[in-house]
């Protein structure tokens, strides 16, 4: 088995593994982390105050949440944009995604899916388990609790929605959720996202033909041309298109290759405001690195688009820039344009087929 290779690298119980505050194994000195640990006393106090505010807003077990959101949606939005306190993140994610309601409405369903059903994707899922967040302690141990729950959630989903089944990339989303909540909670959050409990459904990212990925890439391509014309032109000249660098951004909502402390801040906003934030963050990255990117030739450009400098990946720099970018109107227009275009292509194909004997 291929997993045999992983054995050699399994987490050793005798040697203590150095991990960052999120549980990822540290390979080298991580500067942002170093900054975090040197928090001053006043910063801790501020953090404490922030948590108290959040607790009050949520109420016991989330009891006051809906009421608060209805009364003060803008306060909630502002606070979420500043980042949900890590200790409350799992709970808040479930509240804002609508997954908590799904869980309560469907008692016993998850257990049924995990225990009694079989999935055509089981082998595909197993093959990828050790290749999902391989540097996180929770997922490193072969057949350990992390890998088991990741398998269960993905298998349950592949049974719950057989059209989607299992697609690579879903594992990173499930994995990220599992670092903040139980298996069953993570499963229902996945359902809430893909089926569209609050925002438009995400399942098109994973359905045959990856239709939503194609649409998002089309929209992103046009947004770049619209909002960063000089860079857009440079990309066109160098024959760079978003499928070369941005498909993972959409398919995994930045959980695949971005620093974890940034990914979760994006997720805070993503769950409350929807996919818009993925476009905004993508544009913000390009905008922040604009002056460097316009100078690079093809290969260096591709490299640059996959390896953004550390300062660009600082959430407190990148996110405010992202919030300042407006995309809603363009996204809507581009969606219609895309639908028109694809309808035409389909029509053309049908015609072609008819003409053929």
């Amino acid at each position: 088995m291929e997993n045999k290779r992983v054995d050699d690298h399994e987490i050793q119980t005798t040697v203590p593994v150095r991990v960052d505050r999120f549980g990822f194994v540290k390979h080298e000195q991580n500067p942002p982390e170093a900054l975090m640990s040197s928090k001053s006393a006043s910063e801790y106090e501020r953090e404490e105050r922030r948590i108290r505010k959040w607790r009050k807003m949520i109420g016991v077990g989330g009891s006051d949440w809906k009421h608060y959101v209805r009364r003060k949606p803008h306060v909630v939005k502002r606070r979420i944009r500043k980042g949900i306190p890590d200790c409350l993140r799992g709970l808040v994610w479930q509240l804002i995604s609508g997954s908590r309601d799904l869980l309560l409405m469907n008692p016993g369903v998850y257990e049924q899916l995990v225990i009694y059903e079989t999935s055509a994707s089981e082998l595909d899922i197993i093959r990828d388990i050790s290749r999902t967040f391989p540097s996180h302690v929770f997922f490193q141990q072969r057949h350990g609790p992390g890998q088991r729950s990741l398998y269960n959630v993905l298998k349950a989903y592949s049974v719950f929605d057989r059209d989607v089944g299992y697609v690579q990339g879903m594992g990173f989303i499930a994995g990220l959720l599992l670092l903040y909540m139980s298996e069953e909670d993570a499963f229902w959050l996945l359902v809430a996202l893909l089926k569209g409990a609050v925002h438009s459904p995400m399942e098109g990212l994973y359905l045959a033909g990856l239709p939503l990925v194609q649409q998002y890439l089309f929209q992103f391509d046009h947004l770049v041309k619209e909002q960063l014309p000089k860079l857009g032109e440079h990309f066109a000249q160098e024959m760079i298109n978003p499928s070369m660098y941005a498909s993972q951004w959409f398919i995994t909502v930045f959980s695949y290759s971005f620093p974890f402390h940034l990914a979760i801040r994006i997720w805070d906003v993503f769950l409350y405001e929807g996919v818009k934030i993925v476009f905004k963050v993508g544009l913000a990255l390009l905008k922040y690195c604009h002056d460097d990117l316009v100078k690079l030739p093809f290969e260096k450009l591709i490299h640059g688009l996959r390896n953004f400098p550390e300062d660009a990946l600082n959430p407190d720099v990148l996110l405010p820039l992202a919030y300042s970018i407006k995309v809603s109107k363009s996204l809507e227009d581009l969606k219609q344009e895309y639908e028109k275009q694809t309808a035409k292509t389909v029509e053309g194909l049908v015609k072609q087929e008819k003409q053929q004997p």
Partner: protein, 213 residues
């Protein structure tokens, strides 16, 4: 634009890495381009890209390699990358017979989406897992002969034959190209410094219509 000396090359060849998920495509690429093997590698989402410049038959060749996600559903995105590729490395895992069985499906993918004169090399990877081998070398060899592909077995982990695999396919591409430019009367050096190489053109139209039902 002036090139720095380290970026000079005679030819630029685009090559794609395809094959089932988990067969080791990304590690073959990292072994070839950076001499690295990553035990903790993540599954590839979408496409990845790397290059390496090397000497092949006395020429400086720059290989521009696109590594693709192996899962079937990703073909919606990845098949666009076959276009204009001069070579394809079709990888299977010698310990997993299904990945070898699927090779013919990958060949069909190439016939449907790639240029008809693309050079294809079949690669059986993970030969380091000797005790788990499940696809015999002879079977793959005779399959490759039947289909007109070159064939090699590799271990990205032990760095066995990786260099040779890339050398071979790049050499084959080079020989075809230099023959072509001879017959068309153009000096081969004309292709120098191009972003992409234009040898695909002439018989793409002659591509056989596929026999899909």
């Amino acid at each position: 634009m002036a090139r720095r000396p380290d970026e000079e090359y005679d030819y630029l060849f685009k090559v794609v890495l395809i094959g089932d998920s988990g067969v080791g495509k990304s590690n073959l690429l990292s072994r070839f381009t950076r001499n690295e093997f990553c035990l903790e590698s993540k599954s590839t989402i979408g496409v990845e890209f790397a290059t390496r410049t090397l000497q092949v038959e006395g020429r400086t060749i720059k290989a521009q390699i696109w590594d693709t996600a192996g899962q079937e559903r990703y073909r919606a995105i990845t098949s666009a990358y076959y276009r204009g590729a001069l070579g394809a490395l079709l990888v299977y895992d010698v310990t997993k017979p299904t990945t070898f069985d699927n090779v013919s499906r990958w060949l069909k993918e190439l016939r449907d989406h790639a240029d008809s004169n693309i050079v294809i090399m079949l690669i059986g990877n993970k030969t380091d897992l000797k005790h788990l081998r499940a696809v015999a070398t002879e079977d793959a060899q005779s399959f490759a002969e039947k289909e007109g592909l070159s064939f090699i077995e590799t271990s990205a982990l032990e760095a066995t034959n990786v260099e040779k695999a890339f050398q071979t396919i790049l050499g084959e591409i080079y020989r075809i190209i230099s023959k072509k430019s001879l017959s068309s009367g153009e000096p081969a050096a004309n292709i120098k410094e191009g972003q992409t190489l234009v040898v695909e053109a002439e018989d793409t139209n002659a591509k056989k219509p596929c026999c899909s039902s």
